[in-house]
């Protein structure tokens, strides 16, 4: 049975019982009072007749100057008194002597005269009796007349009282039924009004459960049901958000894997094709063998580079950087020394400028970051141009900013947000020729994220490009705490995260966060004490 049916039936039953019981009680009480009044009325009239009888007898005795009238005369006097009652038909009287009816006035009294049993009762006796469709109140008493006992019976017609009671009873039944119907109607309407929102809620919940996640319940008023609706909406919203997030994650992972598969298939096609030709061809010339084999080797190298970049991407997302204070001047000087041959080979100049003495970062990751940024700059730069690496102090945040600027082909503005997406290549052919797979900037973005830093790319077509990484001012100890926060809540990172993440790696991050927190921390190297000249240093290679 449904809730509304239960409430409806219970309330209805209760209302019917209460209404009927109350009115019946009132009615019966009224009836009793009416009967009592009738009885008082009957008694007083009965006594009046008794007194009349006695007075008439005494009067006759006085007229006749006798002590005792003879029986016949006394009876005549009594008859005369009784006959006066003829005018009032509501009251009948009858006089008995030793159980014998002597005289009766009015039909009713004659009929009641059969009630002989009453006559044996002592003194006053009242009784209600029903004859046919009439009801009478009978009163019997013994009267001493002329020195002899007589019984006087008076019978009052109280049918009207009973009729009134019956009529009232009918009325009560009618009103009871009517009120029950009325209450039933009102209850039904109330139930609809009160339980309607509940029904809507139930429908909404079912729809949400069936996957219609955008569905919301209507919230009306401030009652309990609307509160439930509000809470349901909050729940639905969070479910929808989570599902969307999961779908986005699944989608970007799908894209990542699709790109990865494509990136792997391209070198694999050359490798398999050339290997197959070498296998099945008869009489391969030395020149051809060399050509085919070197393609196989270079494409295998490409795959190797791809896999190592992928591994780096994975590890950075799962690994807390071991932060150290880095003396930038020395660090950049060493980097310059190491890269000199590469720049010479490409016919490029490499300029450095250090305005900020030190930086808190993971040295290995910093090296990877700078290598990737410089590598991109080299690929984009025509021979004879200059690539500049600057370390400056951000006046607003007091942090360190590393900037790599080239004078190359530049990047169309609409492509800039896409650059940090894994496998995104500005120029597919050129990237491939250099053995790239489009993972370099994705890797940089990951490293930047690991340091709570921000990556900014500024460029215009034919105006070169400038990539800057802004680090927050931290000591090594603070840096560790921040890095830890990053693992606690990956949403707080300040780096530009608008674009899709390299999700293959991101998904693992959360799983391993706790595991990383348990790892022993590498102690930060104490801040450097040697002062560094803040001068401008620029050199060319």
């Amino acid at each position: 049975m449904k809730l509304w049916q239960k409430i409806f039936l219970l309330t209805l039953a209760l209302v019917i019982v209460v209404v009927n019981a109350t009115s019946l009680l009132l009615l019966s009480n009224n009836h009793h009072l009416a009967i009592e009044r009738d009885r008082q009325d009957a008694l007083s009239r009965h006594n009046y007749i008794v007194v009349e009888l006695q007075n008439a007898i005494i009067y006759q005795q006085l007229v006749d100057r006798v002590i005792s009238l003879d029986e016949g005369e006394a009876l005549a006097v009594a008859r005369e008194v009784l006959n006066r009652q003829r005018a009032d038909s509501s009251l009948g009287v009858a006089l008995f002597s030793d159980g014998q009816l002597l005289h009766a006035v009015n039909q009713t009294a004659k009929r009641q005269s059969d009630e002989r049993t009453l006559l044996n009762e002592p003194a006053y006796t009242a009784r209600i009796t029903n004859t046919d469709d009439a009801t009478y109140l009978l009163i019997v008493s013994t009267v001493q007349l002329n020195g002899r006992p007589y019984q006087l019976l008076s019978s009052l017609d109280i049918t009207s009282t009973y009729h009134l009671f019956a009529a009232n009873l009918d009325m009560v039944r009618f009103i009871g039924t009517l009120s029950a119907l009325l209450v039933a109607g009102i209850l039904l309407l109330l139930m609809r009004g009160l339980l309607g929102p509940l029904r809507d809620l139930s429908t909404t919940t079912r729809h949400i459960a069936l996957g219609e996640l955008g569905r919301r319940a209507a919230v009306k008023g401030h009652d309990e049901v609307s509160e439930v609706a509000r809470n349901l909406n909050i729940m639905a919203e969070s479910i929808e958000r989570n599902v969307t997030q999961l779908e986005g994650l699944a989608e970007s992972r799908r894209v990542f894997i699709g790109n990865l598969a494509h990136e792997m298939k391209t070198p694999l096609t050359s490798i398999l094709g050339f290997a197959d030709i070498l296998r099945i061809k008869r009489g391969v010339s030395d020149a051809q063998r060399q050509e085919f084999a070197s393609v196989i080797v270079s494409e295998t190298r490409h795959l190797q580079g791809l896999s190592s970049k992928l591994m780096q991407l994975l590890t950075i997302s799962n690994f807390r950087p071991s932060l150290q204070d880095i003396e930038l001047e020395e660090y950049i000087a060493q980097l310059k020394l190491a890269l000199t041959p590469l720049f010479e080979r490409s016919g490029l100049r490499f300029a450095t400028q250090v305005d900020s003495p030190r930086l808190v970062a993971d040295p290995e990751l910093l090296a990877s970051l700078l290598n990737n940024l410089l590598d991109n700059a080299i690929k984009a730069s025509p021979p004879g141009t200059t690539i500049t690496l600057r370390a400056t102090r951000d006046t607003a945040s007091d942090g360190c900013v590393l900037t790599v600027t080239d004078q190359g082909a530049g990047i169309p503005p609409e492509q800039i947000p896409l650059l940090t997406e894994p496998f995104y290549m500005l120029d597919k052919a050129r990237t491939r020729r250099h053995g790239g797979a489009g993972l370099g900037l994705a890797l940089c973005a990951e490293i930047v994220r690991a340091h709570n830093a921000t990556l900014q790319i500024e460029s215009a077509v034919d105006a070169g490009a400038s990539v800057s990484v802004s680090f927050l001012p931290t000591s090594a100890e603070e840096g560790h705490e921040q890095a830890e926060e990053r693992f606690d809540d990956s949403d707080t990172t300040t780096s530009r995260e608008d674009g899709p993440q390299p999700t293959g790696a991101r998904a693992v991050t959360n799983v391993q966060a706790s595991d990383i927190a348990d790892r022993p921390r590498l102690p930060g190297i104490p801040p450097a004490v040697s002062s560094v000249t803040l001068g401008r240093e620029e050199s060319h290679v």
Partner: protein, 223 residues
């Protein structure tokens, strides 16, 4: 088989590989690295077939095919692509491509597909193939060895034709099985061996039809 084929492929190494493979099959070829220059070439020169990469910079393979259809240059097209996706396959074939090869592929597979397409599009051109005194009339299903009619079973005939068409290319038993007996043939590679024995005996090919250890067989020309 011979023919002039245009390779539209943006990856240098793959283009070179396909070129070498076609050379192996006796085809001549040209390479185009992007869609618009491919369209220009198609407009200017005659090709028997176009091998079209789907993922090309700017104008992709589908665009090129659509443009070819638009310009009414009806050259058979085989798509080469890294994306193994049914919907793309269907799209390519519905646009009028003859076939669809998913990267990476083996050299012989590419040659076999090209062969099928060229055979279908150049109807009636099957004619005859010859190898060192053996002349096979494909239409008449006749084999003449030094002018003498040689009786071959249908499978031996097909096997011989496939060997001559792929002269100097090593063919694995699996490849021979699928080429002659069909992809759904559930026989053993031993079937190939017995048929090769029959060919060697009937056509005196003991020397030319060489067994390549761990690989299969190769019909070697005298050159």
């Amino acid at each position: 088989m011979s023919g002039h084929i245009l390779i539209v492929e943006d990856d240098e190494n793959i283009a070179r590989m396909v070129e070498a493979t076609l050379e192996l099959g006796g085809y001549t070829s040209e390479v185009s690295a992007d869609g618009s220059s491919a369209l220009a070439l198609i407009q200017q020169r005659e090709y028997d077939l176009v091998l079209l990469d789907v993922m090309l910079p700017q104008l992709d393979g589908f665009d090129v095919l659509a443009e070819m259809t638009h310009r009414q240059r009806q050259i058979p097209v085989i798509f080469l692509t890294a994306v193994d996706e049914v919907s793309k396959k269907v799209r390519g074939l519905r646009m009028g491509a003859e076939d669809y090869i998913v990267k990476p592929f083996e050299a012989v597979e590419l040659l076999a597909r090209i062969d099928v397409v060229l055979r279908r599009t150049q109807r009636g051109a099957a004619g005859s193939v010859c190898f060192d005194g053996i002349c096979v009339d494909i239409d008449a299903h006749q084999v003449l060895h030094n002018g003498q009619l040689v009786q071959l079973t249908p499978k031996e005939f097909d096997l011989l034709v496939f060997f001559i068409q792929n002269t100097d290319i090593a063919l694995t038993r699996e490849r021979l099985l699928s080429a002659v007996w069909g992809h759904h043939f559930l026989g053993e590679t031993r079937t190939v061996d017995t048929h090769v024995q029959q060919l060697r005996k009937k056509l005196a090919l003991a020397e030319a039809l060489v067994t390549i250890p761990r690989l299969g067989y190769r019909l070697e020309g005298s050159g």
